[in-house]
Assembly symmetry: C2
Homo-oligomer: 218 residues x 2
């Protein structure tokens, strides 16, 4: 199948790129620069893995999110909260309807280049606070994509039913260098080790009983 992959440069979407590359014809990978605190750190990681696999990588700027949207994930927002991903205060890091925006753009792009599917790495650990990661949302959007395109473009979301430790294990399978991925919402030179995504990252390697190659600040 001809697939377009969404890649942020974090470990989930990096694993997805290798996974799709092993199973399908990857026509390209899309990233978005939307003004988050960590875009500048994660996008070069996405570019690195695309280059390794020989996949065309395209970064699409979405300045309107930085200009008009409200979220502490953005440079325009407040401090990123610390704690577990599933804590209530993580809601402040939600960028409203972000996945729908990215997937809609990816779908139009996919139809333009002749791809048959768009793949996203949303997984079950994302669901607690993010309405646009849950399976109900993904089902509805998949239906929208099929209805709204000539090619009846499919939404592949192979990790919706698995947790992040399963993704860490995939990295092991494909021998992915996860030290060359970036997740931290704070966007510092080192992963902070305290924000929701850092806590979840540590937890994933521990639960998968794999070495965590990440340099944390704490």
């Amino acid at each position: 199948m001809k697939v377009l992959v969404l890649i942020s440069g974090g470990m989930d979407s990096t694993a997805l790129l290798y996974d799709m590359h092993a199973q399908h014809d990857v026509m390209g990978a899309l990233s978005f620069h939307y003004g988050s605190k960590h875009n500048e750190r994660e996008l070069p990681m996405a570019a690195h893995h695309c280059a390794l696999l020989g996949v065309k990588h395209q970064v699409i700027p979405l300045d309107f999110i930085a200009d008009h949207f409200t979220s502490d994930l953005l440079q325009s927002g407040g401090d990123v909260p610390e704690g577990h991903y599933e804590d209530a205060n993580m809601v402040k890091t939600v960028v409203p309807f972000r996945n729908a925006i990215m997937l809609s753009i990816a779908t139009g792009y996919a139809e333009s280049i002749g791809a048959e599917a768009v793949a996203i790495a949303a997984h079950s650990g994302d669901h607690a606070v993010y309405p646009d990661c849950r399976e109900g949302f993904m089902d509805a959007l998949a239906n929208t994509m099929e209805q709204g395109t000539y090619a009846k473009i499919q939404l592949l979301r192979p990790y919706v039913g698995i947790r992040k430790e399963g993704i860490a294990a995939l990295g092991d399978k494909y021998e992915i260098d996860f030290s060359k991925t970036y997740s931290c919402y704070k966007g510092g030179a080192l992963h902070c080790g305290k924000c929701g995504t850092c806590v979840e990252r540590k937890e994933a390697f521990a639960l998968a009983q794999l070495n965590d190659p990440t340099n944390y600040d704490v």
Copy 2:
């Protein structure tokens, strides 16, 4: 209800703006500059009506559509075909998944400003060639919007069941100056009178038995 309105500057979305303004609390109106041949002509029309009604108007640039998408509606595409809107060659004017992209961005924007609904002027005459105007698509996207937002943002599409002559009649009801709207896909100083949207525009006024205030080239 607090509503965000999508407005292009054509007669359908201009009628929608007046209609929503009469019935709801319109928190703002969004337009998109996506590199179509007629963007430069239609957007000032949208701005004009927003200013008349005292509605905040925001134009969001979507350069990635011009850069990467394929459509004869775009400046980067081929010549706009002439003939009836429902003809097969009008497919060349489809911008892939455009309405989903615009509505997804509008939904994230709406959640950021506290709106409860997003309104779009898609009508039954649009359905023949545009998969992302049909009610099946609109239903699916409405479900996606409710699932993917905290505010369960609604999609208002009051014209999905009516034809363009009904919209012409609404303009009469609200005393809208339709000479200050722009539809022509070719983007010339005058409406060409031959492209699908011009043919449909003429037909709508004729069927509604109303004066057509448009200056056509032919």
